[in-house]
């Protein structure tokens, strides 16, 4: 996340913060409590300065009339995208040792397996999935696998498509996998192999917007880790609805280690596998 050199203007009052917060929530489903006020005010100040709006009220008026480009800039600034390769690897273990064996029971060789990674951030998770499947799932050659990765932040999607990472992002990857799948560009940057970049499609989507997610269907597995913690109850319910529609009956959703679908929605059944707890869409109601 970038840091701002700009001071917070005095005119971002608490009332202004609340006004902006409600607007931003209505448009994106992302909720900021008052503890995040400094974080929000700082980024708003940056945009007020850069756009030349000169005051919160001018900027907010512009934002409400804007067709989306300024809002997208704000979304990119307000979302956090800290991640790395093989983060929470135990879930990838669960994927190849427990989830996929169940998924393929209902398929025949050559069938399609669809996996959705959201939020994709700058690509670490979907590319990790691709590498993990290639390296650790013995049946990978027997099926056609499709990987879709989505995020609300267009800035990180561009980064994901380039696939260039710093060493810190690769620190949990075994060296032989770094050697095999990355090209060192300079002292700090590594680019992931073209074949892996070609294996993931990236899209921009707001998961709480039913109109935007209408075409996201027939996934066998969804990875949605550390996103719902940023949402309020209503947005979580809407996201759960989206995932329910997006999954095939019997499909699985993997959440972050601190997240629980059971506290969000009764739509899914918790399944305890040796390496993790995941949530499954019932095969019938």
């Amino acid at each position: 996340m970038s840091t701002s050199p700009f001071a917070i203007p005095m005119d971002i009052t608490r009332e202004n913060f609340l006004k902006f917060r409600d607007f931003f929530y209505a448009r994106t489903g992302i909720h900021f409590d008052e503890k995040k006020r400094y974080f929000v005010d700082k980024r708003l100040s940056e945009r007020i300065k850069v756009t030349g709006a000169s005051s919160f009220n001018n900027y907010f008026a512009m934002l409400r009339l804007d067709e989306g480009s300024e809002l997208q800039v704000l979304v990119n600034l307000m979302t956090t995208n800290e991640t790395y390769f093989f983060r929470e690897e135990y879930q990838f273990k669960s994927l190849v040792n427990a989830i996929l064996p169940e998924v393929v029971k209902k398929k025949k060789k050559g069938d399609l397996i669809r996996i959705w990674s959201i939020p994709s951030s700058s690509g670490e998770e979907p590319y990790s999935l691709a590498i993990y499947l290639l390296e650790r799932w013995a049946e990978v050659d027997d099926y056609n696998i499709e990987l879709l990765a989505s995020d609300i932040d267009t800035r990180v999607l561009k980064l994901a498509e380039k696939g260039i990472y710093q060493k810190r992002s690769l620190q949990y990857l075994p060296p032989e996998l770094v050697e095999k799948y990355f090209t060192q560009l300079n002292a700090t940057d590594f680019q992931i192999a073209q074949t892996i970049r070609d294996s993931v499609a990236f899209t921009r989507v707001n998961v709480t917007d039913a109109a935007q997610t209408r075409s996201y269907r027939d996934f066998d597995i969804i990875f949605c880790r550390n996103l719902l913690i940023y949402f309020d109850d209503m947005s979580r319910r809407e996201a759960a609805d989206t995932f329910y529609d997006a999954l095939v009956p019997g499909g699985f959703i993997c959440l972050g280690h601190s997240e629980s679908m059971s506290r969000i929605s009764p739509l899914f059944t918790a399944r305890k596998f040796p390496d993790s707890i995941v949530y499954q869409k019932p095969t019938s109601s």
Partner: protein
Amino acid sequence: MAFIKKASLPQVANDGPENSLAEDLSKLSDENADTRRHAVHDLAAFPEAVQPLCDRLALEQDVAVRTTILTALIKIGVPQAVECLIPYLGSENVALRNDVIVALQQMQQLALPLVEKLLENPDTDIRIFAINILAGIHDLHVPALLMHVIEHDSHINVWSAAIEAIAEIGTPEMVPAIQASLQRFDTVYARFAVQFAVQRING
């Protein structure tokens, strides 16, 4: 190694004509659960759909449709949605009742005035459910309501539910009143409940 392919998304028209309110309402009783669910999705845009959605809740057997109805009612967010959900707290269907409790919690301040009134309900179960709902509503008024229950409700199970809730959201200045309420229910369980709550509040 070319077995992993980029996923593709089917082209779906997002801007096609929406169903009318009447069309969606008629689909609430469709045989197909997916059709009912999609109708409910659309009805979340209509405050006038509150009553039909609430009525459907009594008949709906499909968990996914039921969940979507509750999500739609929360989204519509009008007092009538709270009002029409409250009778379901008396339902014999435990899953429905629990889902309604969660939905009323998620309605937050909107639910507060009507849920507060339930604290006077003659049915002890309803008073307990009201406390369960209040425990999930983030409002400065809630601790005072729970303290009132602790000091005045005559049923030990209601008192106990309030003690449990206050253990989660109480503050140290409430401790003397919590301890004093033991005079009304001095049982082994009540002493344990108060001890647990006080420890929890004092950290």
